[in-house]
Symmetry: C2
Subunit: 197 residues, 2 copies
Amino acid sequence: MAAHEPALDELIEALRSLPGVGQKSAQRMAYHLLQHDRAAAPRLAAALTGALGRIGHCARCHTFTERTLCTVCEDPARDPRLLCVVETPADQAAVERSGSFRGLYFVLLGRLSPLDGVGVGQIGAQALLDRAGDGVVQEVILATSFTAEGDVTAHALGEALKARGLQVTRLARGVPAGSELEYVDLSTLAHAFVSRR
Amino acid sequence: MAAHEPALDELIEALRSLPGVGQKSAQRMAYHLLQHDRAAAPRLAAALTGALGRIGHCARCHTFTERTLCTVCEDPARDPRLLCVVETPADQAAVERSGSFRGLYFVLLGRLSPLDGVGVGQIGAQALLDRAGDGVVQEVILATSFTAEGDVTAHALGEALKARGLQVTRLARGVPAGSELEYVDLSTLAHAFVSRR
């Protein structure tokens, strides 16, 4: 005997496709929507359909946008000589929220992962080289993740960009704000010592 | 300048209405759906619409069902002399999963909460008295939460049911399975001593 109704099972199953949502959370969400917040469900359904239908990629930097160019690429106040390379639109949004960068972006939509068969061709490297070689960009800031794959990506892209005579930098690696040294991992601490200033 | 696109903001806002989902999780979910799992979004939208449209309450026990009567109420193998009173359809599903009850259910869809203005009239008490007084039910098992509000609800309903000559029981209170006594809270331990057998 099924403990649930088919429509309820389908909803729970669909909610499980959200990242970080397991069986228990999905059940809780489904019961919550049905019992306490029935108005939220059609709102969420409409937002999902709307977002999927309307949001594509910026023709210039490849982040998410509803138009041809995203807000940042369209902004004449941004410095076109600086190009920040990030892995995902979420990373781009994070840098943007920090308010510490006034140039333009290039979103790779991936990173090198040789073990998974993701090579230079799959992460838009050629598009980046074309974009960075427009004659306006002077410095490319590699802001890929500080993981093995992100580092490999930064290294490969950096070499190709330097070969074209561009200035290439990488975000500083070191102790994050608010950390107590005792709890900082050894690799971070070693990097912070090497890069001391 | 908005960091996001309107459709993306709407999706993030709609995802935040799910229980346990804050701004950060909602952003992560939205970016995941847009970048990594675009097929999941229409599936989720359809499941939401389907569940809301098709799922109503069982005419007999008030749990969620797509038909007039739920699977449990329709099952002739269940013992109609036992009636288990729970607060929510989620509680009913949890008891059902435990496989420890073969009678029928009555879902209150709430519990007494005098401070929030939820009185006996709001939680279907009269419907429960009518249901339990059908001449078949012999024992009513009160399985409301073991919280102050759940206890008050059980007490109020228990008094009314006993006044009609029905046998009323409450789930056993005690030390949960897998607990070490050292870490059991004092109230639970005190109850377990009083109810020792």
